[in-house]
Symmetry: C2
Amino acid sequence: MLNQTADLDRVFQALGDPGRRVMVERLSLGPLSVSELARPMAMSLAAVVQHVQVLEACGLVRSQKTGRIRTCSINPGVLQSAEEWISERRTQWERRLDRLGDFLTETAGNPTEENQ
Amino acid sequence: MLNQTADLDRVFQALGDPGRRVMVERLSLGPLSVSELARPMAMSLAAVVQHVQVLEACGLVRSQKTGRIRTCSINPGVLQSAEEWISERRTQWERRLDRLGDFLTETAGNPTEENQ
């Protein structure tokens, strides 16, 4: 899920805002209505709605309207895609370190002819 | 490492650009000089330098100048901090689902008096 570059751009850009991260943090504890989401935030309801729209546009959050209440919930698959992108880079770096370690151990164990 | 909100803001904002993600991807395979980093990129050297500065400012990349060559390498600790922020949110969400599952199993196993 979410392999396209443009999607990852939007997910990381969305997470680059502290207010949106607080929203993701609260929604990871359970679904909330937009007004519940807005209650502890030091911003207008309009600003909260805008942030929710950014989170929905990148897929991190889904919302559903029942009557007059819009309820938001987290989309864990999109969170996972972003996490995987980072963890793959970290794993690549660690593998490189392991190969470097193996090479150094091997070199120390098998001195070249010039050194013998 | 990297617990401050402003730092995470900058890390996620830095990862929100596809060109910078390509640079992080290539640097996770090993250190590169700025000109090696620039070679396959469809952008000017000046643009690459600017992206490197953004990556350095948020701590994702470190660079060192030896003579006239500036070599860039990844900072895995900062990658890990961003990964941990996301994985903690995902874990919270999964724990909530588990609790919900336990509650439903319990409720199904112990019908209330009204239902007996």
